[in-house]
Symmetry: C2
Subunit: 227 residues, 2 copies
């Protein structure tokens, strides 16, 4: 009798990762670079996107997948900027999930205009714990942290700050009005994720948003160079 030994590799057979890889294959086939945008609630992900995409010239054609527990407030805001937006709510059928997972993103796949875009930005549910644990098929992750949240956040939510390629420090227009020490934040950030790129930004005033735009515009080439 011929015996085949199948070794169960936990991570490889993990359902979420399996589906994330299927998503990844679909995105690759359409030449779409995918960004997972993560933050706490109210850190300014949507305002950052509005600001970045409202002066978006020559860069990759961008589409957005909006993840929210309920409502379509953010999708409506982005649609005003003539960006193709698909809304994904986690409260129907998913039981009010606090994060997006690969299967939720998969369920939106048919609604995404993958042939008309070069980059998909997935705005995750506002949460500083679980989104980091669920890959959805993305090429890169951006973590947005607002100065209003305090300089201790990298220490309190280390996985989120570790599982990303870029940290956007948002709402720097508030820095004089809150107890936020940038050096302390960067010191904590370096402790949990040495060497990660960070960009100080005010999505509200536009300060620093050019650098985020450039980072995004260069991402497809960076991803291809690594592949």
């Amino acid at each position: 009798m011929h015996r085949v030994k199948v070794r169960v590799v936990e991570d490889a057979l993990d359902a979420n990762n399996t589906i994330a890889r299927a998503n990844r294959a679909d995105f690759d086939r359409h030449g779409v670079t995918v960004v997972n945008l993560m933050s706490a609630p109210g850190s300014g992900k949507t305002t950052l996107l509005e600001r970045a995409l409202s002066h978006w010239h020559d860069g990759p054609r961008v589409g957005v997948l909006e993840g929210d527990v309920a409502g379509s407030l953010d999708a409506d805001r982005l649609a005003h900027h003539h960006v193709p937006v698909v809304q994904l709510n986690t409260d129907n059928g998913f039981g009010g999930e606090c994060h997006l997972d690969a299967n939720m993103v998969r369920s939106a796949m048919d609604a995404l205009p993958l042939d008309e875009i070069d980059m998909l930005i997935i705005e995750n549910v506002g949460n500083l714990v679980c989104p980091a644990e669920f890959r959805v098929g993305e090429d890169a992750r951006i973590m947005v942290s607002s100065v209003a949240e305090g300089a201790d956040k990298p220490l309190k939510y280390p996985l989120m700050f570790r599982a990303c390629e870029l940290v956007v420090i948002n709402k720097i227009d508030l820095i004089e009005h809150v107890d936020f020490d940038m050096d302390t934040f960067l010191y904590h950030l370096d402790a949990v994720h040495p060497g990660v790129t960070s960009l100080p930004v005010s999505a509200r005033t536009g300060e620093g948003v050019d650098a985020v735009r450039s980072w995004l515009a260069a991402l497809p080439d960076r991803v291809r160079a690594v592949a």
Copy 2:
């Protein structure tokens, strides 16, 4: 043969609720009123507690149970105010949970000085989704929302604003520097939780904190009146 029909009532046998009731019974036996303090990350729960407890006279004797994914930054801050604090981390053994549940609180029960306090304030993990789904044996829930997070939060995270007895609107010292319209926030709040008490506060400057202190101090009597 004598047959006993056992009807499985889903909610009654739900493990979390069963343990929450056991916690509740233990708290009652010690005459301790319990508050579950919830918010997004960085909304100012700890600063609010520091401020409220630093001028705490004649009120119930308060202890704090600090829930965090990692570290003991908040517990250390509160210990400075001579408040008995127990730290509960969710990253060891619990797998990096994004909320406290009844069993986690139960695991801290022996460490709590229940005979020396009249009120236990449980500071939940910063998260606007899951904490609302897990009762831990509390008498009341306080939801803290900062003006820096935006006026749309009640609509985007309705369960959190619905599953509470008090909404603290924090960081009102920032109101001139952010795009936050109080009437819009209160309109949305009323839509998801009609009639809930809300208190505008600046934990940083102390404005409005007296009202939170009074609310807390009156809570044991209110709870007893209902029971």
